[in-house]
Amino acid sequence: MRFEEFAAARLPALLRYAMLLSGDHDQARDIVREVLTRSLVKWERIQRTGEPYAYARRLVTDEYLSWRRHKKPAAGDGLWKLLGDLPKRQRAALVLRFYEGLSDQEIAEALGCRTSTVRGYVSRALTELGIEFPAGAPEEVLP
């Protein structure tokens, strides 16, 4: 698959994911622009993995976590605002879990941590948002 084909097919999904992570239009565009640039330069290697979207999503996550720009104050309704106040890694874990539908293992790989840490992030994030922690492990409540 050529880079242009991949980008055309997956750009909307990457932007939606970046929007939920950053909570900001401009930052979402900046993050995805940077990820596309890096992907373009290394396209052959990324393509060789057979899962270019998973790698691009991981690059988006890395870019968001390493973003040095000051976080803008969270706007929007109550839940969205609470999400904006979460620590970055907790927010990323929550979006990967309940929007992207990844397993704890996949999130652990994306965030470079252990699965027990992922469960901790998700649990604390849900508590901060006032969402009752569902019975059973988060793995059992995949969307």
Binding site: L15, A28, R33, V41, E44, R45, T49, D77, E109
Partner: protein, 324 residues
């Protein structure tokens, strides 16, 4: 009470407010080109510093500034005679036994003695002047047997080879053609020296891409292939550190016995051995697709090739050697 359903609804609602991607791909492409140019300049500055001290390599530097079409055969498979004007960096550039290729944007350039179309049809087309010499443009060069031949801009070099510029619109082709420069044959440089290869093996192609990944393939002297992807030995290098490799190393590859004191890795299901130095990732592999036993080499041979490489600094061209 807030529920997980509320969370899902909120995610869906705000994801719908994501910005559109208008212009992002073009912006990324431009940014990637700027990075390539920046990296290339950094490498050249390092190389020229060494040239200034040693007095060597002046002919190469002078060749790059030579704007007149001077192509003097013979050219080895690992040598090039094409470059582009300052500020233009090809997306990929490759050399083989019989031809050279270069791509800039969507436009591709081929230089070959046998261009694969009827040159009389080309020279019956519209005459143009490119950098002071004659060139021709035709909408139908009767390439091969395909009825839907693509428009072509082309001309013949003094050495007899034909330059063929394809893809993009007419203005794209002319713009790229005007930025081409032709020099005497120059070695493609690689950040390693080969110490051992199976007997009767000769370098047959090189590829340099925008990420500064450099590939060289070797084939049997007695059984040359027409496609570098079918050559039995391939060595690729790319500069480190690289974030993507850092991730892939743990996800896709497993560690094996070190090579020359450097960490080495393989990926199950592939015939590749990867060697990691502080500045280089070196991949030694065999042909990627199919092939009979005499068209591939085994893992022990790949390891022996890797163990006999002298790997230089991928980030410093002054330490590099001619490919082949």
């Amino acid at each position: 009470m807030t529920t997980l359903d509320d969370l899902h609804h909120m995610f869906d609602a705000y994801a719908d407010q994501a910005p559109d991607g208008h212009g992002l791909i073009d912006q990324a492409r431009e940014a990637a080109a700027r990075r390539r140019i920046r990296r290339r300049w950094q490498s050249w500055i390092a190389a020229l510093a060494v040239v200034a001290v040693t007095g060597g390599g002046i002919a190469v530097a002078a060749g790059l500034r030579h704007h007149d079409p001077v192509v003097v055969p013979p050219r080895a498979a690992t040598q090039t005679t094409i470059t582009m004007a300052d500020g233009f960096t090809p997306v990929t550039q490759s050399t083989g036994r019989d031809s050279q290729r270069l791509q800039w944007g969507v436009v591709s350039v081929t230089v070959a003695a046998r261009p694969g179309y009827d040159t009389k049809t080309l020279t019956a087309g519209e005459r143009l002047t490119i950098n002071g010499h004659d060139a021709w443009y035709t909408a139908n060069p009767s390439e091969g047997r395909t009825p839907d031949a693509v428009p072509l801009l082309g001309w013949q070099l003094p050495g007899g080879e034909w330059v063929s510029v394809r893809a993009g619109n007419r203005a794209d082709k002319i713009a790229v053609a005007e930025q081409l420069r032709f020099t005497t044959p120059r070695d493609v440089l690689v950040p390693y020296r080969v110490g051992w290869l199976p007997p009767q093996m000769v370098a047959s192609s090189t590829t340099v891409d925008q990420s500064e990944t450099i590939g060289v393939t070797w084939s049997w002297a007695t059984k040359p292939t027409d496609n570098p992807g079918e050559d039995p030995v391939r060595i690729e290098t790319e500069p480190l550190p690289d974030r993507i490799w850092s991730q892939q190393k743990s996800d896709l590859y497993r560690s094996v016995k070190p090579v020359g004191g450097h960490p080495a890795y393989v990926r199950d299901g592939t015939s590749e051995l990867l060697v990691e130095t502080p500045t280089c990732l070196v991949t030694v592999g065999t042909r990627r697709w199919g092939g009979t036993p005499d068209q591939t080499v085994d893992d022990a041979t790949l390891r022996k090739v890797a163990e006999n490489l002298t790997i230089a600094d991928c980030t410093n061209r002054a330490t590099w050697s001619p490919a082949g």
